[in-house]
Protein backbone atom coordinates (compact mmCIF):
# COMPACT_ATOMS: atom_id res chain seq x y z
CA UNK A 1 0.00 0.00 0.00
CA UNK A 2 2.66 2.44 1.12
CA UNK A 3 4.96 1.30 -1.67
CA UNK A 4 2.18 1.79 -4.18
CA UNK A 5 1.48 5.28 -2.89
CA UNK A 6 5.13 6.25 -3.15
CA UNK A 7 5.28 4.77 -6.67
CA UNK A 8 2.25 6.78 -7.73
CA UNK A 9 3.69 9.95 -6.22
CA UNK A 10 7.01 9.36 -7.99
CA UNK A 11 5.18 8.87 -11.29
CA UNK A 12 3.30 12.13 -10.81
CA UNK A 13 6.47 14.01 -9.87
CA UNK A 14 8.45 12.68 -12.83
CA UNK A 15 5.65 13.30 -15.32
CA UNK A 16 4.90 16.74 -13.89
CA UNK A 17 5.96 18.66 -17.05
CA UNK A 18 3.35 16.82 -19.13
CA UNK A 19 0.72 17.12 -16.42
CA UNK A 20 1.36 20.84 -16.17
CA UNK A 21 1.16 21.18 -19.96
CA UNK A 22 -2.16 19.37 -19.95
CA UNK A 23 -3.70 21.02 -16.88
CA UNK A 24 -2.50 24.64 -16.99
CA UNK A 25 -1.26 25.23 -20.55
CA UNK A 26 -1.38 29.01 -20.15
CA UNK A 27 0.87 29.15 -17.13
CA UNK A 28 3.06 26.21 -18.04
CA UNK A 29 6.34 28.12 -17.95
CA UNK A 30 5.63 29.79 -14.65
CA UNK A 31 4.50 26.60 -12.91
CA UNK A 32 7.53 24.69 -14.16
CA UNK A 33 9.81 27.45 -12.97
CA UNK A 34 8.26 27.19 -9.50
CA UNK A 35 8.74 23.42 -9.63
CA UNK A 36 12.44 23.75 -10.51
CA UNK A 37 12.86 26.12 -7.58
CA UNK A 38 10.99 23.75 -5.30
CA UNK A 39 13.24 20.82 -6.23
CA UNK A 40 16.41 22.87 -5.74
CA UNK A 41 15.20 24.30 -2.44
CA UNK A 42 14.19 20.84 -1.27
CA UNK A 43 17.72 19.58 -1.97
CA UNK A 44 19.24 22.59 -0.21
CA UNK A 45 16.91 22.20 2.78
CA UNK A 46 17.75 18.50 3.09
CA UNK A 47 21.45 19.32 3.19
CA UNK A 48 20.73 21.96 5.83
CA UNK A 49 18.75 19.47 7.87
CA UNK A 50 21.78 17.16 7.99
CA UNK A 51 23.41 19.70 10.28
CA UNK A 52 20.42 21.17 12.08
CA UNK A 53 18.27 18.07 12.40
CA UNK A 54 20.77 15.26 12.70
CA UNK A 55 23.77 16.56 14.62
CA UNK A 56 21.81 19.35 16.29
CA UNK A 57 24.18 22.21 15.44
CA UNK A 58 22.16 25.26 14.53
CA UNK A 59 24.29 26.58 11.68
CA UNK A 60 23.20 29.80 10.03
CA UNK A 61 26.03 29.70 7.49
CA UNK A 62 24.28 27.73 4.80
CA UNK A 63 23.84 30.71 2.44
CA UNK A 64 27.62 31.16 2.56
CA UNK A 65 28.24 27.63 1.28
CA UNK A 66 25.47 27.92 -1.27
CA UNK A 67 27.07 31.19 -2.38
CA UNK A 68 30.60 29.78 -2.54
CA UNK A 69 29.28 26.98 -4.74
CA UNK A 70 27.21 29.31 -6.89
CA UNK A 71 30.05 31.77 -7.46
CA UNK A 72 32.62 29.03 -8.04
CA UNK A 73 30.41 27.41 -10.67
CA UNK A 74 29.59 30.77 -12.24
CA UNK A 75 33.25 31.72 -12.48
CA UNK A 76 34.40 28.31 -13.68
CA UNK A 77 31.73 28.27 -16.37
CA UNK A 78 32.13 31.86 -17.57
CA UNK A 79 35.80 32.74 -17.11
CA UNK A 80 37.49 29.36 -17.21
CA UNK A 81 35.05 27.84 -19.66
CA UNK A 82 34.65 24.63 -17.70
CA UNK A 83 31.96 22.17 -18.76
CA UNK A 84 28.88 21.92 -16.56
CA UNK A 85 29.83 18.77 -14.68
CA UNK A 86 33.31 20.09 -13.95
CA UNK A 87 31.89 23.34 -12.64
CA UNK A 88 29.37 21.42 -10.54
CA UNK A 89 32.01 19.24 -8.93
CA UNK A 90 34.37 22.17 -8.48
CA UNK A 91 31.61 24.19 -6.81
CA UNK A 92 30.69 21.37 -4.44
CA UNK A 93 34.31 20.76 -3.49
CA UNK A 94 35.01 24.46 -2.98
CA UNK A 95 32.07 24.78 -0.60
CA UNK A 96 33.10 21.61 1.23
CA UNK A 97 36.69 22.78 1.66
CA UNK A 98 35.57 26.17 2.97
CA UNK A 99 33.26 24.44 5.44
CA UNK A 100 35.98 22.12 6.67
CA UNK A 101 38.34 25.07 7.18
CA UNK A 102 35.92 27.38 8.97
CA UNK A 103 34.33 24.48 10.83
CA UNK A 104 37.41 23.95 12.96
CA UNK A 105 37.29 27.33 14.75
CA UNK A 106 33.49 27.58 14.59
CA UNK A 107 32.92 24.29 16.38
CA UNK A 108 34.89 25.64 19.30
CA UNK A 109 31.68 27.51 19.90
CA UNK A 110 28.84 25.51 21.30
CA UNK A 111 25.10 25.77 20.99
CA UNK A 112 23.87 29.34 20.48
CA UNK A 113 27.38 30.74 20.22
CA UNK A 114 27.97 28.45 17.27
CA UNK A 115 24.82 29.79 15.67
CA UNK A 116 26.00 33.37 16.05
CA UNK A 117 29.47 32.52 14.76
CA UNK A 118 27.99 30.90 11.66
CA UNK A 119 25.70 33.86 11.12
CA UNK A 120 28.80 36.02 11.25
CA UNK A 121 30.38 33.85 8.58
CA UNK A 122 27.31 34.21 6.39
CA UNK A 123 27.52 37.97 6.80
CA UNK A 124 31.22 38.06 5.91
CA UNK A 125 30.52 35.93 2.83
CA UNK A 126 27.83 38.32 1.71
CA UNK A 127 30.10 41.35 2.32
CA UNK A 128 32.76 39.68 0.19
CA UNK A 129 30.27 38.87 -2.58
CA UNK A 130 29.19 42.50 -2.68
CA UNK A 131 32.62 44.07 -2.50
CA UNK A 132 35.12 41.77 -4.20
CA UNK A 133 34.10 43.34 -7.47
CA UNK A 134 37.09 42.12 -9.48
CA UNK A 135 35.89 38.55 -9.00
CA UNK A 136 32.17 38.59 -8.26
CA UNK A 137 31.34 41.82 -10.14
CA UNK A 138 29.51 42.78 -6.93
CA UNK A 139 25.97 44.07 -7.42
CA UNK A 140 26.45 43.93 -11.20
CA UNK A 141 26.16 40.14 -10.90
CA UNK A 142 27.83 37.45 -12.95
CA UNK A 143 25.73 37.05 -16.06
CA UNK A 144 25.56 34.84 -19.13
CA UNK A 145 26.30 31.64 -17.29
CA UNK A 146 25.82 28.90 -19.90
CA UNK A 147 22.96 26.44 -19.66
CA UNK A 148 24.05 23.03 -18.41
CA UNK A 149 25.38 20.49 -20.88
CA UNK A 150 25.55 16.96 -19.56
CA UNK A 151 28.35 14.72 -20.75
CA UNK A 152 32.11 14.34 -20.68
CA UNK A 153 34.50 16.14 -23.06
CA UNK A 154 34.76 14.17 -26.28
CA UNK A 155 31.75 11.99 -25.56
CA UNK A 156 28.11 12.51 -26.37
CA UNK A 157 26.60 15.61 -24.83
CA UNK A 158 23.08 16.49 -23.79
CA UNK A 159 22.27 20.17 -23.59
CA UNK A 160 19.60 21.21 -21.09
CA UNK A 161 17.77 24.02 -22.76
CA UNK A 162 14.08 23.54 -22.06
CA UNK A 163 12.24 24.09 -18.81
CA UNK A 164 11.22 20.42 -18.52
CA UNK A 165 14.90 19.56 -19.01
CA UNK A 166 15.86 21.83 -16.14
CA UNK A 167 13.10 20.33 -14.05
CA UNK A 168 14.30 16.78 -14.62
CA UNK A 169 17.87 17.77 -13.93
CA UNK A 170 16.82 19.40 -10.64
CA UNK A 171 14.71 16.36 -9.83
CA UNK A 172 17.63 14.00 -10.49
CA UNK A 173 19.79 16.13 -8.21
CA UNK A 174 17.09 16.05 -5.54
CA UNK A 175 16.87 12.26 -5.86
CA UNK A 176 20.62 11.97 -5.41
CA UNK A 177 20.47 14.20 -2.33
CA UNK A 178 17.58 12.15 -0.92
CA UNK A 179 19.64 8.97 -1.32
CA UNK A 180 22.66 10.59 0.32
CA UNK A 181 20.45 11.91 3.11
CA UNK A 182 19.00 8.46 3.75
CA UNK A 183 22.43 6.88 3.69
CA UNK A 184 23.81 9.37 6.18
CA UNK A 185 20.91 9.50 8.59
CA UNK A 186 20.12 5.83 9.06
CA UNK A 187 22.13 2.78 10.08
CA UNK A 188 25.45 3.30 11.85
CA UNK A 189 26.25 6.79 10.64
CA UNK A 190 22.80 8.08 11.47
CA UNK A 191 23.00 6.49 14.90
CA UNK A 192 26.34 8.17 15.59
CA UNK A 193 25.00 11.54 14.39
CA UNK A 194 21.91 11.20 16.54
CA UNK A 195 23.95 10.16 19.54
CA UNK A 196 25.99 13.36 19.22
CA UNK A 197 22.83 15.40 18.83
CA UNK A 198 20.97 13.86 21.76
CA UNK A 199 23.68 13.60 24.39
CA UNK A 200 27.19 14.74 23.61
CA UNK A 201 28.94 13.58 26.80
CA UNK A 202 27.38 10.15 26.53
CA UNK A 203 28.39 9.96 22.87
CA UNK A 204 31.97 10.42 24.05
CA UNK A 205 31.56 7.50 26.45
CA UNK A 206 30.31 5.44 23.49
CA UNK A 207 33.59 6.12 21.72
CA UNK A 208 32.19 8.72 19.35
CA UNK A 209 34.25 11.82 18.66
CA UNK A 210 31.48 14.47 18.66
CA UNK A 211 33.59 17.09 16.93
CA UNK A 212 34.49 14.73 14.11
CA UNK A 213 30.88 13.83 13.41
CA UNK A 214 29.71 17.42 13.64
CA UNK A 215 32.42 18.49 11.25
CA UNK A 216 31.57 15.61 8.93
CA UNK A 217 27.89 16.53 8.74
CA UNK A 218 28.76 20.21 8.37
CA UNK A 219 31.20 19.56 5.53
CA UNK A 220 28.96 17.16 3.64
CA UNK A 221 26.03 19.55 4.00
CA UNK A 222 28.16 22.40 2.67
CA UNK A 223 29.33 20.27 -0.25
CA UNK A 224 25.74 19.55 -1.20
CA UNK A 225 24.80 23.22 -0.75
CA UNK A 226 27.67 24.17 -3.08
CA UNK A 227 26.42 21.70 -5.67
CA UNK A 228 22.89 23.08 -5.42
CA UNK A 229 24.37 26.56 -5.84
CA UNK A 230 26.00 25.40 -9.10
CA UNK A 231 22.71 23.99 -10.40
CA UNK A 232 20.95 27.17 -9.36
CA UNK A 233 23.22 29.52 -11.33
CA UNK A 234 23.27 27.27 -14.35
CA UNK A 235 19.51 27.37 -14.33
CA UNK A 236 19.14 31.12 -13.83
CA UNK A 237 22.26 32.03 -15.89
CA UNK A 238 23.01 34.77 -13.38
CA UNK A 239 24.40 35.04 -9.85
CA UNK A 240 23.96 38.10 -7.65
CA UNK A 241 25.00 38.78 -4.04
CA UNK A 242 21.32 39.02 -2.96
CA UNK A 243 20.97 35.27 -3.48
CA UNK A 244 23.00 34.59 -0.35
CA UNK A 245 21.53 36.87 2.30
CA UNK A 246 19.99 36.10 5.67
CA UNK A 247 16.64 35.83 3.87
CA UNK A 248 17.83 32.48 2.48
CA UNK A 249 18.58 31.29 6.02
CA UNK A 250 15.09 32.29 7.08
CA UNK A 251 13.67 30.36 4.15
CA UNK A 252 15.64 27.27 5.11
CA UNK A 253 14.74 27.60 8.78
CA UNK A 254 11.08 27.86 7.88
CA UNK A 255 11.22 24.82 5.59
CA UNK A 256 13.09 22.70 8.11
CA UNK A 257 11.45 23.79 11.35
CA UNK A 258 7.94 24.08 10.04
CA UNK A 259 8.25 20.96 7.91
CA UNK A 260 9.87 18.76 10.53
CA UNK A 261 13.41 18.78 11.83
CA UNK A 262 15.33 15.61 11.12
CA UNK A 263 12.60 14.12 8.98
CA UNK A 264 12.97 13.45 5.25
CA UNK A 265 9.25 13.63 4.64
CA UNK A 266 8.84 16.72 6.79
CA UNK A 267 11.58 18.65 5.02
CA UNK A 268 10.23 17.69 1.59
CA UNK A 269 6.72 18.76 2.56
CA UNK A 270 8.13 21.97 4.01
CA UNK A 271 10.04 22.69 0.81
CA UNK A 272 6.93 22.26 -1.33
CA UNK A 273 4.77 24.34 0.99
CA UNK A 274 7.16 27.20 1.55
CA UNK A 275 8.64 27.48 -1.93
CA UNK A 276 5.53 27.01 -3.98
CA UNK A 277 3.01 28.72 -1.70
CA UNK A 278 4.50 32.22 -1.53
CA UNK A 279 5.06 32.11 -5.29
CA UNK A 280 1.46 31.20 -5.88
CA UNK A 281 0.25 33.85 -3.44
CA UNK A 282 2.58 36.41 -5.09
CA UNK A 283 3.76 37.76 -1.79
CA UNK A 284 6.17 40.69 -1.68
CA UNK A 285 9.49 39.60 -0.16
CA UNK A 286 9.14 41.82 2.90
CA UNK A 287 5.64 40.57 3.67
CA UNK A 288 6.78 37.03 3.09
CA UNK A 289 9.53 37.48 5.66
CA UNK A 290 7.11 39.03 8.14
CA UNK A 291 4.72 36.10 7.71
CA UNK A 292 7.53 33.53 7.82
CA UNK A 293 8.98 35.10 10.92
CA UNK A 294 5.62 35.10 12.67
CA UNK A 295 4.93 31.52 11.64
CA UNK A 296 8.35 30.42 12.77
CA UNK A 297 7.88 32.16 16.09
CA UNK A 298 4.48 30.60 16.66
CA UNK A 299 5.51 27.12 15.62
CA UNK A 300 8.79 26.87 17.52
CA UNK A 301 7.14 28.24 20.61
CA UNK A 302 4.15 25.94 20.34
CA UNK A 303 5.56 22.83 18.67
CA UNK A 304 9.31 22.54 18.26
CA UNK A 305 9.20 19.46 16.03
CA UNK A 306 7.33 21.33 13.33
CA UNK A 307 4.43 20.37 11.17
CA UNK A 308 5.55 16.76 11.17
CA UNK A 309 4.69 16.40 14.84
CA UNK A 310 1.54 18.45 14.44
CA UNK A 311 0.44 16.09 11.69
CA UNK A 312 1.33 13.08 13.76
CA UNK A 313 -0.60 14.47 16.69
CA UNK A 314 -3.58 15.21 14.49
CA UNK A 315 -3.50 11.67 13.11
CA UNK A 316 -3.59 10.16 16.55
Amino acid sequence: MRRAAIGALAAVVVSAPWLVAALVPRQQRYVLHVLVFTALFAALALSYDLVVGHVGSLSLAHPAFFGVGAYTAALLATRAGWPFLGALIGAALAAGVVAALVGVPLFRLTEHAFAVGTLGLALVASVVANNWVEVTRGPLCITEIPKPVLGVPGGPALAITTLPGHYWLALAALAAVVLLYRGLTTFRLGRAFHAVRDNEPLAGAAGIDPLKYRLLAFTIAATVAGGVGALYVHYLSVMCPEEMTVALTVNLLVIVFLGGVGSLRGVLVGAVLFTALPEVLRLAPTWRLVIYGTLLLLVVVRSPEGLESLLRRAAR
Binding site: L58, L106, V127, V128, L253, F257, V290
Partner: protein, 292 residues
Protein backbone atom coordinates in the same frame (compact mmCIF):
# COMPACT_ATOMS: atom_id res chain seq x y z
CA UNK B 1 45.19 67.27 7.59
CA UNK B 2 48.36 65.89 9.11
CA UNK B 3 48.72 62.10 9.36
CA UNK B 4 48.75 62.35 13.16
CA UNK B 5 45.54 64.36 13.28
CA UNK B 6 44.01 61.92 10.83
CA UNK B 7 45.02 58.99 13.02
CA UNK B 8 43.62 60.71 16.09
CA UNK B 9 40.37 61.37 14.30
CA UNK B 10 40.09 57.74 13.26
CA UNK B 11 40.83 56.66 16.83
CA UNK B 12 38.10 58.93 18.06
CA UNK B 13 35.74 57.58 15.45
CA UNK B 14 36.65 54.09 16.66
CA UNK B 15 35.90 55.06 20.25
CA UNK B 16 32.47 56.32 19.20
CA UNK B 17 31.76 53.09 17.37
CA UNK B 18 33.11 51.15 20.32
CA UNK B 19 30.81 53.01 22.71
CA UNK B 20 27.85 52.18 20.52
CA UNK B 21 28.79 48.50 20.24
CA UNK B 22 29.53 48.36 23.95
CA UNK B 23 26.09 49.62 24.96
CA UNK B 24 24.47 47.00 22.75
CA UNK B 25 26.93 44.27 23.76
CA UNK B 26 26.50 45.00 27.47
CA UNK B 27 22.77 44.36 27.13
CA UNK B 28 23.40 41.14 25.23
CA UNK B 29 25.89 40.00 27.84
CA UNK B 30 23.45 40.83 30.64
CA UNK B 31 20.69 38.76 29.05
CA UNK B 32 23.12 35.96 28.37
CA UNK B 33 24.40 36.01 31.91
CA UNK B 34 21.12 36.37 33.75
CA UNK B 35 18.74 34.44 31.49
CA UNK B 36 21.18 32.23 29.52
CA UNK B 37 19.56 33.62 26.42
CA UNK B 38 20.99 35.12 23.26
CA UNK B 39 18.63 37.73 22.00
CA UNK B 40 18.99 37.92 18.22
CA UNK B 41 16.50 40.76 18.19
CA UNK B 42 18.81 42.96 20.24
CA UNK B 43 20.03 44.98 17.27
CA UNK B 44 16.39 45.67 16.49
CA UNK B 45 16.01 47.25 19.93
CA UNK B 46 18.67 49.68 18.78
CA UNK B 47 16.96 50.14 15.40
CA UNK B 48 13.56 50.79 16.99
CA UNK B 49 15.15 53.09 19.54
CA UNK B 50 16.75 55.06 16.73
CA UNK B 51 13.43 55.41 14.91
CA UNK B 52 11.69 56.40 18.14
CA UNK B 53 14.31 59.10 18.55
CA UNK B 54 13.89 60.20 14.91
CA UNK B 55 10.14 60.36 15.40
CA UNK B 56 10.45 62.47 18.54
CA UNK B 57 13.23 64.76 17.37
CA UNK B 58 12.74 65.20 13.61
CA UNK B 59 9.04 64.56 13.15
CA UNK B 60 7.52 65.88 16.37
CA UNK B 61 10.17 68.54 16.83
CA UNK B 62 10.90 67.76 20.47
CA UNK B 63 14.09 69.20 21.96
CA UNK B 64 17.08 66.81 21.90
CA UNK B 65 17.18 66.02 25.64
CA UNK B 66 13.48 65.13 25.68
CA UNK B 67 13.62 63.04 22.52
CA UNK B 68 16.78 61.39 23.84
CA UNK B 69 14.98 60.39 27.03
CA UNK B 70 11.75 59.46 25.33
CA UNK B 71 13.27 56.83 23.03
CA UNK B 72 14.83 54.76 25.84
CA UNK B 73 11.58 55.03 27.80
CA UNK B 74 9.66 53.66 24.82
CA UNK B 75 12.16 50.87 24.40
CA UNK B 76 12.07 49.93 28.07
CA UNK B 77 8.33 49.43 27.66
CA UNK B 78 9.00 47.52 24.46
CA UNK B 79 11.51 45.33 26.32
CA UNK B 80 8.90 44.57 28.97
CA UNK B 81 6.31 43.69 26.33
CA UNK B 82 8.84 41.50 24.53
CA UNK B 83 9.66 39.75 27.77
CA UNK B 84 6.00 39.09 28.47
CA UNK B 85 5.02 37.89 25.01
CA UNK B 86 8.04 36.06 23.67
CA UNK B 87 10.76 35.58 26.24
CA UNK B 88 8.62 34.19 29.00
CA UNK B 89 7.28 31.51 26.66
CA UNK B 90 10.73 30.44 25.47
CA UNK B 91 12.84 30.74 28.61
CA UNK B 92 12.13 27.21 29.85
CA UNK B 93 12.66 25.79 26.35
CA UNK B 94 15.80 24.52 24.64
CA UNK B 95 18.33 26.96 23.23
CA UNK B 96 17.25 25.93 19.71
CA UNK B 97 13.80 27.28 20.34
CA UNK B 98 15.13 30.43 22.00
CA UNK B 99 17.45 31.15 19.15
CA UNK B 100 14.92 30.63 16.40
CA UNK B 101 12.28 32.58 18.27
CA UNK B 102 14.50 35.62 18.80
CA UNK B 103 15.85 35.40 15.24
CA UNK B 104 12.28 35.25 13.96
CA UNK B 105 11.43 38.31 16.07
CA UNK B 106 14.36 40.13 14.54
CA UNK B 107 13.22 39.26 11.00
CA UNK B 108 9.65 40.34 11.70
CA UNK B 109 10.71 43.66 13.26
CA UNK B 110 13.17 44.45 10.46
CA UNK B 111 10.70 43.76 7.68
CA UNK B 112 7.84 45.52 9.43
CA UNK B 113 10.12 48.53 9.73
CA UNK B 114 10.85 48.32 6.00
CA UNK B 115 7.14 48.16 5.23
CA UNK B 116 6.19 51.02 7.54
CA UNK B 117 9.20 53.31 7.21
CA UNK B 118 10.73 52.38 3.86
CA UNK B 119 14.33 51.50 3.08
CA UNK B 120 15.42 55.11 2.57
CA UNK B 121 17.93 55.93 5.34
CA UNK B 122 16.95 58.72 7.70
CA UNK B 123 19.30 61.42 8.91
CA UNK B 124 18.86 63.10 12.27
CA UNK B 125 21.44 65.90 12.49
CA UNK B 126 21.36 67.83 15.76
CA UNK B 127 22.95 71.08 16.85
CA UNK B 128 25.64 69.12 18.65
CA UNK B 129 26.48 66.96 15.66
CA UNK B 130 26.91 70.05 13.48
CA UNK B 131 29.01 71.98 15.98
CA UNK B 132 32.70 71.22 15.80
CA UNK B 133 35.26 71.61 18.54
CA UNK B 134 38.66 72.51 17.15
CA UNK B 135 41.81 72.00 19.21
CA UNK B 136 45.13 72.59 17.47
CA UNK B 137 44.09 71.50 14.00
CA UNK B 138 42.21 68.59 15.44
CA UNK B 139 38.46 68.65 14.92
CA UNK B 140 35.76 66.80 16.77
CA UNK B 141 31.98 67.07 16.70
CA UNK B 142 30.46 67.86 20.09
CA UNK B 143 28.08 64.97 19.61
CA UNK B 144 31.04 62.58 19.65
CA UNK B 145 32.23 64.03 22.92
CA UNK B 146 28.72 63.61 24.26
CA UNK B 147 28.71 59.95 23.17
CA UNK B 148 31.98 59.26 24.94
CA UNK B 149 31.13 61.09 28.13
CA UNK B 150 27.65 59.56 28.27
CA UNK B 151 29.09 56.08 27.63
CA UNK B 152 31.55 56.48 30.49
CA UNK B 153 28.79 57.61 32.84
CA UNK B 154 26.52 54.77 31.74
CA UNK B 155 29.13 52.05 32.14
CA UNK B 156 30.12 53.40 35.53
CA UNK B 157 26.46 53.49 36.53
CA UNK B 158 25.88 49.97 35.23
CA UNK B 159 28.82 48.67 37.19
CA UNK B 160 27.57 50.37 40.36
CA UNK B 161 24.05 49.11 39.72
CA UNK B 162 25.18 45.51 39.40
CA UNK B 163 27.55 45.73 42.35
CA UNK B 164 25.53 47.80 44.82
CA UNK B 165 21.79 47.50 44.35
CA UNK B 166 19.66 44.61 45.53
CA UNK B 167 18.40 43.89 42.03
CA UNK B 168 21.89 44.18 40.59
CA UNK B 169 23.25 41.71 43.09
CA UNK B 170 20.36 39.37 42.35
CA UNK B 171 21.26 39.62 38.66
CA UNK B 172 24.82 38.68 39.44
CA UNK B 173 23.74 35.81 41.62
CA UNK B 174 21.44 34.53 38.92
CA UNK B 175 24.22 34.66 36.38
CA UNK B 176 26.17 32.34 38.62
CA UNK B 177 23.52 29.90 39.66
CA UNK B 178 19.97 30.32 38.47
CA UNK B 179 18.57 27.25 40.20
CA UNK B 180 19.98 28.15 43.58
CA UNK B 181 18.50 31.65 43.25
CA UNK B 182 15.01 30.29 42.75
CA UNK B 183 15.54 28.13 45.83
CA UNK B 184 16.72 30.93 48.11
CA UNK B 185 13.84 33.15 47.12
CA UNK B 186 15.21 35.52 44.52
CA UNK B 187 12.30 36.66 42.36
CA UNK B 188 13.70 35.19 39.16
CA UNK B 189 10.86 36.48 36.99
CA UNK B 190 11.23 40.02 38.21
CA UNK B 191 15.01 40.07 37.87
CA UNK B 192 14.74 38.69 34.34
CA UNK B 193 12.21 41.38 33.51
CA UNK B 194 14.47 44.13 34.87
CA UNK B 195 17.36 42.70 32.86
CA UNK B 196 15.37 42.84 29.64
CA UNK B 197 14.05 46.31 30.28
CA UNK B 198 17.54 47.52 31.16
CA UNK B 199 19.10 45.90 28.08
CA UNK B 200 16.47 47.36 25.77
CA UNK B 201 16.94 50.76 27.40
CA UNK B 202 20.72 50.60 26.96
CA UNK B 203 20.34 49.81 23.27
CA UNK B 204 17.97 52.74 22.86
CA UNK B 205 20.31 55.11 24.72
CA UNK B 206 23.07 54.07 22.33
CA UNK B 207 20.70 54.76 19.45
CA UNK B 208 19.80 58.26 20.61
CA UNK B 209 23.46 59.09 21.18
CA UNK B 210 24.83 57.96 17.82
CA UNK B 211 21.82 58.53 15.56
CA UNK B 212 22.83 62.18 14.98
CA UNK B 213 26.15 60.89 13.62
CA UNK B 214 25.06 57.94 11.47
CA UNK B 215 22.13 57.16 9.22
CA UNK B 216 19.16 55.16 10.43
CA UNK B 217 17.81 52.31 8.31
CA UNK B 218 15.57 49.32 9.01
CA UNK B 219 18.04 46.47 8.59
CA UNK B 220 20.92 47.95 10.56
CA UNK B 221 20.05 45.72 13.52
CA UNK B 222 21.34 42.40 12.21
CA UNK B 223 24.91 43.52 11.65
CA UNK B 224 24.89 45.31 14.97
CA UNK B 225 23.67 42.22 16.85
CA UNK B 226 26.42 40.20 15.24
CA UNK B 227 29.17 42.69 16.03
CA UNK B 228 27.95 43.05 19.59
CA UNK B 229 27.86 39.32 19.89
CA UNK B 230 31.38 39.03 18.52
CA UNK B 231 32.35 41.37 21.36
CA UNK B 232 30.48 39.20 23.86
CA UNK B 233 32.35 36.10 22.68
CA UNK B 234 35.72 37.84 22.56
CA UNK B 235 35.09 39.37 25.98
CA UNK B 236 34.47 36.03 27.64
CA UNK B 237 30.90 34.90 27.10
CA UNK B 238 28.52 36.71 29.38
CA UNK B 239 31.12 38.77 31.25
CA UNK B 240 29.76 42.30 30.88
CA UNK B 241 32.93 44.33 31.41
CA UNK B 242 34.80 41.99 29.07
CA UNK B 243 32.18 42.57 26.39
CA UNK B 244 32.48 46.33 26.86
CA UNK B 245 36.26 46.25 26.53
CA UNK B 246 36.08 43.97 23.49
CA UNK B 247 33.53 46.33 21.91
CA UNK B 248 35.98 49.21 22.07
CA UNK B 249 38.68 46.99 20.60
CA UNK B 250 36.37 46.10 17.73
CA UNK B 251 35.26 49.70 17.23
CA UNK B 252 38.81 51.05 17.07
CA UNK B 253 40.08 48.24 14.83
CA UNK B 254 37.13 48.76 12.54
CA UNK B 255 37.72 52.50 12.27
CA UNK B 256 41.42 52.09 11.58
CA UNK B 257 40.93 49.21 9.14
CA UNK B 258 38.10 51.06 7.43
CA UNK B 259 40.31 54.08 6.94
CA UNK B 260 43.68 52.53 6.19
CA UNK B 261 42.91 49.10 4.73
CA UNK B 262 39.50 48.74 3.18
CA UNK B 263 36.26 50.53 3.87
CA UNK B 264 34.22 47.84 2.13
CA UNK B 265 35.37 45.07 4.43
CA UNK B 266 35.13 46.94 7.74
CA UNK B 267 31.98 45.04 8.69
CA UNK B 268 33.94 41.81 8.57
CA UNK B 269 36.52 43.01 11.12
CA UNK B 270 34.48 42.06 14.18
CA UNK B 271 34.30 38.45 13.02
CA UNK B 272 37.95 38.26 12.17
CA UNK B 273 38.64 39.40 15.73
CA UNK B 274 36.14 36.92 17.13
CA UNK B 275 37.56 34.00 15.15
CA UNK B 276 41.10 35.00 16.09
CA UNK B 277 40.16 35.13 19.77
CA UNK B 278 38.45 31.75 19.50
CA UNK B 279 41.53 30.21 17.93
CA UNK B 280 44.10 31.68 20.28
CA UNK B 281 42.18 32.32 23.47
CA UNK B 282 38.98 30.28 23.40
CA UNK B 283 38.23 31.34 26.97
CA UNK B 284 37.96 34.99 25.86
CA UNK B 285 40.42 37.87 26.02
CA UNK B 286 40.09 38.26 29.76
CA UNK B 287 39.96 34.64 30.83
CA UNK B 288 36.96 32.65 31.85
CA UNK B 289 34.81 34.21 34.49
CA UNK B 290 31.73 33.03 36.17
CA UNK B 291 28.86 35.43 36.20
CA UNK B 292 28.31 38.84 34.68
Amino acid sequence: MTPIADLLEQLLHGLTLGAMYAMVAAGLALMLGVARLINFAHGEFFMLGAYAFWLGYSELGLPYPIAALLAPAVMVIFGIVYQHTVIRAILPRSWHVQLIATLATSIVLTNLAIIVLGTQPKEVPTTLSARILEVGGFRIAWQRLLVLVAALVIFWGLDRFVARTRTGRAMRAMSQNREACAVVGVDVQRVTLVTFALSAGLAAVAATLVSPLFNIFPDMGTVLTLKAFAAVVAGGFGYVNGAIAASFLIGITEALAGSYISYAYKDAIAFVIMIAVLLWRPQGLFGRRIGI
